[in-house]
């Protein structure tokens, strides 16, 4: 029953984050510019100001979007509906399966040997994540194959190339995490981020290696949370644009905003397909944020307060069970808060970034991100060997 319980808890958290993502998405839109009023979206149709509809009208907008789906479906000639449906289904299952692999906290009861707080704990979880993200992205290619036109086929080739190159870079970006944590298991990577770490340990090891006296006692004092965001900042910086590009959907007409936005392959005017495409896009962005929180922000861990410090004072009064449940609930709330914060930051950053043409981002990925990812892997590998040497072969 533990698996089902974890699945229900994880579903509740993801539902909360999906609702939050719907509210935060508005931050992604470019604000109204007084200099170019002709480019402003005609929002008077749905109420609210020109910048964006107020948050209090979110429920009304959701109801209106739901009402639009009742409208008669459109049917485009020369388009395979079955293939499009299958592709959306595969993409949705792949994204949901990838979400099921994300650990949302450490172990139950703050015991490293306790049950991991994750729906599916795979030994090679990191590779499975790459596989599921690749599968979801390749399903988009299949959506394009449903159209028989020359341009759709050409776009499929373009999209397939883009997906494969990004999947390769994604694997290179994730490899330093596996090197640092000695495992491909996502729960192991989260456990590796528990506690504090010493930022000056590498410099100290370098000085000792060069025969110098080192930095002294303070260099061994752990002061920062051992999150990979602090231990591998370059990996964290590379992870966001790569997974952002990988989970990004092509441009499509947005009938509500009367603009062009990221939604699905092709220019869909069918509200039903638009709904599924948006849900898929939202799931992809939630997966990005949840993965970042799990891999770089210690999942649901609170900084400087371990779960053991929550459980230990309560254990003499309530036994082991209730404090463990309270600690898990606190960590789950922290995970949701971190994921929503991450979605907010990504929305604000992507609003300030230009939309790159295909040739621009291909050049950016192959000539900037790819060499940086390879250099980062070598850097982490060298640092790991150095620290292992300084610790006399024992795990630092």
């Amino acid at each position: 029953m533990l698996g089902v319980g974890l699945a229900v808890a994880w579903f509740g958290m993801i539902s909360l984050v999906l609702v939050g993502a719907a509210a935060i998405e508005r931050r992604q839109r470019v604000p109204f510019s007084a200099d170019r009023p002709e480019l402003a979206p005609p929002r008077a149709l749905w109420g609210g100001g020109q910048v964006h509809p107020p948050a209090r009208s979110m429920l009304a907008r959701a109801l209106a979007s739901g009402a639009r789906i009742v409208r008669a479906r459109t049917r485009v000639a020369d388009r395979s509906r079955g293939l499009r449906f299958a592709a959306h289904l595969v993409a949705g299952i792949a994204l949901a399966s990838a979400l099921a692999l994300v650990p949302f906290a450490g172990s139950f009861g703050a015991d490293p040997a306790g049950a991991p707080l994750v729906v599916v704990d795979l030994q090679h979880g990191l590779v499975a994540i790459v596989f599921f993200v690749l599968l979801a992205a390749m399903a988009e290619v299949a959506v394009g194959l449903a159209e028989a036109s020359f341009f759709a086929r050409l776009a499929c080739v373009r999209l397939a190339g883009r997906v494969l190159v990004l999947a390769g870079v994604f694997a290179l970006v994730l490899a330093p995490l596996a090197v640092a944590s000695d495992t491909l298991r996502l729960h192991g990577i989260v456990q590796d981020q528990a506690g504090l770490f010493t930022p000056a340990a590498l410099v100290d090891a370098l000085l000792h290696d060069a025969g110098l006296s080192g930095l002294g006692a303070w260099a061994g004092t752990p002061i920062w949370p051992a999150w990979h965001l602090f231990r591998q900042p370059l990996t964290a910086l590379l992870f966001l644009p790569v997974l952002g590009l990988l989970s990004r959907r092509p441009l499509a007409l947005d009938p509500i905003g009367s603009g062009v936005r990221l939604s699905a392959f092709g220019h869909d005017d069918d509200p039903g397909e638009l709904y599924w495409a948006r849900m898929e896009e939202r799931l992809a962005s939630v997966l990005l944020a949840a993965l970042f929180v799990a891999l770089f922000l210690g999942a649901g861990a609170l900084p400087f307060v371990s779960a053991a410090r929550i459980v230990a004072p309560l254990a003499p009064f309530y036994g082991e069970g209730l404090p463990a449940v309270i600690a898990a609930a606190i960590e789950m709330a922290a995970f949701v808060a971190k994921t929503l914060g991450m979605l907010f930051v990504v929305a604000r950053v992507s609003r300030s970034m230009p939309a790159l043409r295909d040739d621009q981002w291909i050049r950016w990925v192959t000539r900037r991100l790819l060499p940086l990812a390879a250099s980062n892997l070598l850097l982490v590998f060298a640092a790991r060997l150095l620290l292992l040497g300084a610790a006399g072969g024992a795990r630092p």
Binding site: V4, F11, R75, D121, H124, L126, A167, L184, L377
Partner: protein, 134 residues
């Protein structure tokens, strides 16, 4: 090297329990997401037949520009990108699989890494020479 694992599920939970949890999560999420379209479909079924008949739409045509028809350069470049991407993705995935073993192998892993990296570098340099900056 990584020890061979008979059971890919790493936690104390059994494989059956993990699969049940995965299925439960998938079904719950699918039901939650399909709630609105299912409700819409139920309402649509109650509408008169004329109102719910699908609207036929012509596929969007982008035209055939003489430039696109005259030169196969763009499709050729796209196919070259696709092949290069496929060549890149496979070693990257292999590298990810072998990454946890690197610290245990120590400096000996560098020999293997160089054997993998040098052909990639050669191909990259060759491709760079053949595609001048547009």
């Amino acid at each position: 090297m990584l020890e061979p694992q008979a059971n890919p599920v790493a936690s104390t939970a059994s494989s059956a329990e993990a699969v049940l949890g995965w299925l439960c999560f998938l079904v719950l999420l699918g039901l939650a997401l399909a709630l609105i379209p299912l409700a819409a479909a139920a309402i649509r079924r109650a509408l008169p037949a004329a109102a719910r008949r699908p609207v036929p739409v012509e596929p969007i045509a982008f035209g055939h520009s003489p430039r696109a028809q005259g030169s196969p350069r763009q499709p050729v470049r796209m196919h070259r990108t696709l092949l290069a991407a496929a060549v890149l993705a496979l070693p990257a995935l292999l590298l990810l699989l072998g990454a946890p073993a690197f610290p245990r192998l120590g400096v000996a892993a560098l020999e293997g890494a160089l054997a993998l990296a040098l052909p990639c570098l050669l191909v990259t340099l060759h491709a760079r020479r053949r595609s001048p900056r547009p």
